[in-house]
Symmetry: C2
Subunit: 561 residues, 2 copies
């Protein structure tokens, strides 16, 4: 009959390496079957329970408490093991490092004032404070710590942006700055591909694949997984793109992240299009309906991102920022009035990466849902062939009445700048759509000459309607006519490019290109990793303020402000 | 001052062509500014209101009522216009067709017994009944009508499947059967590309693009937009794939639809993989992380679908159904225990098209959400680096403890057949992961030899851990080791292929290849379109049972059953 015993140490702080070592140390003691040494968060209590290590006492522990548990062969051995815990601490501690380390960031800065980076891997609740101190010292931050609130992230990144500094993270796993890997990073060759990524192992998979295929990377800028959320607005990603745009060694850029918030995707895409280098975009799992717009190349896997970037770097042609001065500048929102449901859906899919906010009665996600299909708002794509419109009425591919009425209404809306129509030819469809729709376009443009019309014609040269004649009549009415969806999408993207607000996020590239010199606060293994890569670093033997006591900490905090 | 007047005709039925013509007729009368002739559904009332055509009387009309509205210069002209409505009916009706048409499907069948297809475009509430009659007569159905309930759709398709017949639709806009376009269809060349599509204008865009690029199509099978929903189970799509598999003229297949229900995607993909022809898949907007698995080619736009199919048809290599007899057959669910968040997410993204149900703590959609990350269910992908797991604990890329505990737990679960692990090498990571994980794999395989392990190793030849040694040690423990995510995904797909239930949906290909002879019930323009394509057809001068009176209809219905 085994016995499980536990001990609680309220508010005690040990770093996670020591916690791991202590747990292993307990497990190796005589008669001990299993042990746990954890901060008593609900998740950690559940994990202890999984391993049959949760006691009644343990259940009562609070998230800030250190909980020590052993399961041993009998009562005596369990008690004996627990009693050796402090000896284990004493035994393990001196082993960890033989160097002398400063105890504070300020002291480290005095010892190594040329440090331009601070690596932070202390527990999440302390991390924001250390990051603020680092910025105050004028240093860039690699913030590995997770469990940092999004509010703290926004404060840090906004502050850094104003100071021309970078905050990579929180929860930033990976970066390679001037050849030095920070956090988790593979050894890879130097090369021409620069990467900005809101995804740690994504960056590792891409950089490894690039190296394994014989190519190399210039800079790898991590941003933390939440950088492309609405709250953070892509601050670090935009700074990273700006850096890689300036960096002469970077010839091709990869941008990788989980699906961004739609309006952030728009902003990032718009900024990426202003770079005269190819940009490979992998918004992992963000559905798109295109492969290439201008200098942007959309891919759907990490492997493909690496392979596309290598292929582009081998066949480098200077990407021209097309002169869009002769493109019409839209004077307001785009309204797409579709007769074809799938055409509407695919168009929405293509445009959602660069137009925002966008709404539809055939939405791709619930944010795009247009509650009243009779009232457009923002950019809107309407499928007029939806069931609700077709009770006792011919399909809009046969009968233009409904579309003409809607066209009139939209064209009278001063918020509207562009009206987009599909015209589907072939058997079954209206015998002569341009005859009815072109006059309506002329009429609308007479009232509001600044209004632009775009017509997508789907059909063949042997369709009954005479495709060439349809094209020419729509063109004569002043509409831009396309017979390829991809070309139309590129045109619309170009039209709206200048309308999208550009974010300036300038970081001095010369400062950034200085050799990496780092202060490491947190996991000592990260310090050793930097040293082993022959970069200069100093490790801070960091302790939580007030010994990790939350109440005392918050009191200190209040006294300071 | 204009005057708007309206008239309600309870339960009156006119087909939608006539409604359109009557509305136009009213608009052309002296002094009439605008007019509406509609079934008084809420949507149609709202549309009338948009056009300033909704009166107090009109608001009170019921969905089955016909509502006639005119807005004229004065009271007299409005009254006068309304009074001419019946004259307009008389004037318009004889113009529509000079032929004599049978009044019922049964009579049409007597006149043209060789008819193998019935085209149905009557209003939704009558359409299911006509489709049932058509199946009872042994005919395939092209069901253009929308506003048909999903329950009716399921009944019809289940019945058709048992009889070896096809029901394309409801809300099927497009098909090309043996060279004859049904519904809305472009004129295109004959060729080698066969298409199955749950998307009308999607089919039109693809077929037009194929023709415009100089290639051609064999058969185009529409399914209706809901065919790949859970309720309908892809019945028609599976039948369509089966037909194109048998059809010797079809060398490349395209499958196009809006995103299917996950378990239906799985089933369709699995069936498509059993065809020894290339299959181009465009689940529009369904995120995927791969380009190619076996004979399947995933594309993300309609244009790309056409272009990929043409390119495959030009470079046709016989797709081999790989002999998977020497592949391990999984004895249960797959459980992925990941240290890398993005690797977990991308793997989920790749596997969701062929494994179902699949759950995760980093889900792509809410159906996949795993409420308790400590308890797997079905196929599961866990990211062990998520914040909840890392409070006071080293990241699983540094410390294997959590993963080893979970590995043990999963391997003891009799429902588990495969355990998948990622191993990320490089700076910062554990110095020798195989030393700790390989023994755990050996241990688990000792207890359950049927358990399979798959290890994805991310890293380079110059990483500190010695990648080759890691690979070899994991292989020695009996795991399948991959260094490419795409190869691993293909392997897992192949392992599980035989485990997925195959649907047989056999339709006699010879019957199907007989020249199209059609009975048209509903829109006369569809009949004229078939005739103009030089196929044989007969039009039914269809009237709703009981003159469209709902109460009488339901009474008749009850008497029949």
């Amino acid at each position: 009959m085994t016995v499980t015993k536990s001990e609680i140490r309220p508010g005690a702080y040990f770093d996670s390496v020591l916690l791991m070592l202590l747990q292993r140390g307990l497990t190796e003691l005589p008669g001990v079957e299993d042990a746990g040494v954890v901060m008593a968060t609900p998740a950690n209590l559940a994990l202890l329970e999984e391993s049959n290590l949760l006691t009644k006492d343990g259940e009562a522990a609070k998230p800030d408490d250190l909980l020590i548990v052993v399961r041993a062969e009998d009562e005596l051995l369990a008690t004996e093991a627990l009693s050796q815990f402090d000896d284990l601490i004493k035994k393990r501690k001196p082993n960890m490092s033989t160097d002398f380390h400063p105890r504070s960031l300020a002291n480290a800065d005095k010892q190594l004032p040329e440090a331009n980076w601070v690596l932070i891997s202390v527990p999440g609740r302390y991390a924001a404070e250390v990051a603020h101190q680092s910025l105050d010292l004028g240093k860039n931050v690699f913030l590995y710590s997770d469990n940092v609130s999004i509010q703290h992230e926004l404060e840090l990144k906004t502050k850094a942006q104003k100071m021309g500094l970078l905050v990579m993270g929180p929860d930033c796993g990976t970066a390679i700055i001037n050849g030095v890997g920070l956090g988790f990073a593979n050894h890879v060759q130097k090369g021409k591909i620069g990467i900005v990524g809101a995804s740690g192992t994504g960056l590792q998979a891409i950089t490894s694949h690039i190296h394994n295929l014989g190519a190399g990377v210039s800079q790898v800028i991590g941003t933390g997984g939440r950088d492309l959320k609405s709250e953070i607005k892509g601050i670090t990603s935009l700074q990273g793109l700006d850096l890689l745009k300036q960096d002469v060694e970077t010839e091709v850029i990869i941008l990788v992240s989980k699906p961004p918030a739609p309006e952030i995707a728009t902003k990032i895409i718009s900024n990426a299009q202003k770079i005269n280098k190819p940009v490979v975009v992998n918004f992992i799992g963000y559905p798109s309906a295109g492969k290439n717009i201008d200098n942007l190349y959309f891919v759907s896997s990490l492997e493909e991102a690496a392979e596309m970037a290598i292929s582009l770097s081998k066949n480098l042609k200077k990407e021209n920022i097309t002169n869009k001065n002769n493109y019409p500048k839209p004077k307001g929102y785009l309204r797409g009035l579709f007769s074809g449901g799938t055409l509407a859906y695919e168009t929405l899919l293509s445009m959602q990466s660069f137009l925002s906010p966008i709404y539809s009665n055939v939405p791709i996600n619930k944010e795009q849902y247009l509650a009243d299909p009779l009232e457009s708002k923002g950019h809107t794509i309407i499928d007029l062939g939806e069931d609700v419109f077709t009770v006792g009425r011919l399909h809009p591919m046969m009968d233009n009445d409904l579309r003409l009425r809607r066209l009139k209404k939209e064209s009278e809306d001063p918020e509207v700048g562009v009206i987009l129509l599909d015209v589907v030819l072939g058997e079954g469809s209206h015998p002569n759509p341009s005859e009815e729709i072109s006059p309506a376009i002329l009429e609308a443009k007479k009232l509001r000459p600044e209004l632009e019309f775009i017509v997508l014609i789907i059909g063949t040269d042997i369709d009954p309607q005479d495709k060439e004649k349809q094209i020419s009549e729509f063109e004569q009415s002043g509409a831009f006519v396309f017979t390829f969806s991809s070309k139309m999408i590129e045109f619309i993207n170009d039209m709206y490019q200048d309308a999208i607000h550009q974010e300036s996020a300038s970081i001095n590239i010369d400062d950034f290109m200085a050799p990496l010199v780092a202060i490491n606060v947190g996991l000592e293994s990260f310090y050793q990793s930097i040293i082993s890569q022959e970069a200069t670093a100093i490790h801070v033997d960091w302790r939580p303020p007030a010994g990790g006591n939350e109440k005392l900490m918050s009191l200190l905090d209040k006294m300071r402000t």
